[in-house]
Symmetry: C2
């Protein structure tokens, strides 16, 4: 692509990383997709310092990826649930897991496999073209300036 035709600062990828591009936030999201929603459970599973977990949860709530809900009144206890915005991060997390299964899993194979409840089959989620349905290969993709592109040469 014409590298000068977009501005890094408005790059959707860069902005996404600014929100969730640290290891703890990503690991919290992994736990959330496993149904782990309470502070103490997150803290124990991740072995994360409480103040760091607090900070990351606040950040994820602030940007609308998690929602804080009261689940117990006395004492007051909150849980953190994925919003739709958070649920929509699933493809990215699964794609990272798939890569890890391929390249960094130990010999016996992946520690976790996925079943697609709608068809009942074990699945390896695959990135496909929304137009033709074929699998996506990086070499087959051509980036082009989109409607939000900012010309740096203007």
């Amino acid at each position: 692509m014409e590298r000068a035709s977009y501005d890094t600062d408005c790059c959707s990828f860069g902005r996404t990383l600014a929100l969730i591009g640290d290891r703890w936030s990503m690991l919290i999201l992994r736990e959330e997709f496993f149904g782990v929603r309470r502070f103490d459970d997150l803290q124990r599973n991740l072995g994360i310092a409480r103040n760091i977990l607090t900070g990351r949860l606040h950040n994820l709530v602030d940007c609308g990826i998690l929602e804080r809900r009261l689940y117990q009144d006395r004492p007051r206890r909150f849980e953190y649930r994925l919003s739709q915005k958070g649920i929509d991060l699933y493809p990215a997390l699964v794609a990272l897991m798939e890569w890890g299964d391929r390249y960094v899993a130990d010999e016996p194979g992946p520690p976790l496999v996925l079943r697609h409840k709608r068809c009942g089959q074990r699945t390896r989620p695959t990135l496909t073209c929304s137009a033709c349905g074929e699998d996506i290969d990086a070499r087959d993709m051509e980036p082009e300036p989109g409607p939000g592109a900012v010309s740096l040469t203007a």
Copy 2:
């Protein structure tokens, strides 16, 4: 899923994050997918400190995601190219970009769109089930212990 049925330390997602789960490494990979391969170009595009860039590049080479190749002899200059292992990170990066286009792009729309060269159409790459071809929704997925699962209850 049965949360006790796998060990976090052997989680493919966690291991992947340990390799590339920092913002600079991910941004370097984005540049690589745009064809930016030389130290000075990466440094300028990312506005990253030279010592940090050096460290991240060494790490990405060490774990086999980038390959260092001599492209000029006097003075000796190297470029950093994606290996197959690196190219296979594309689905994860595109999934993060897609999410950003949806949730954090400014009003005019995404700064960048993708064309699938094989079919010639603009595409929004989509995660689909390898068994039935339907789009993946997080709610339709059931994680199960895989061959590399470690029982924590044994």
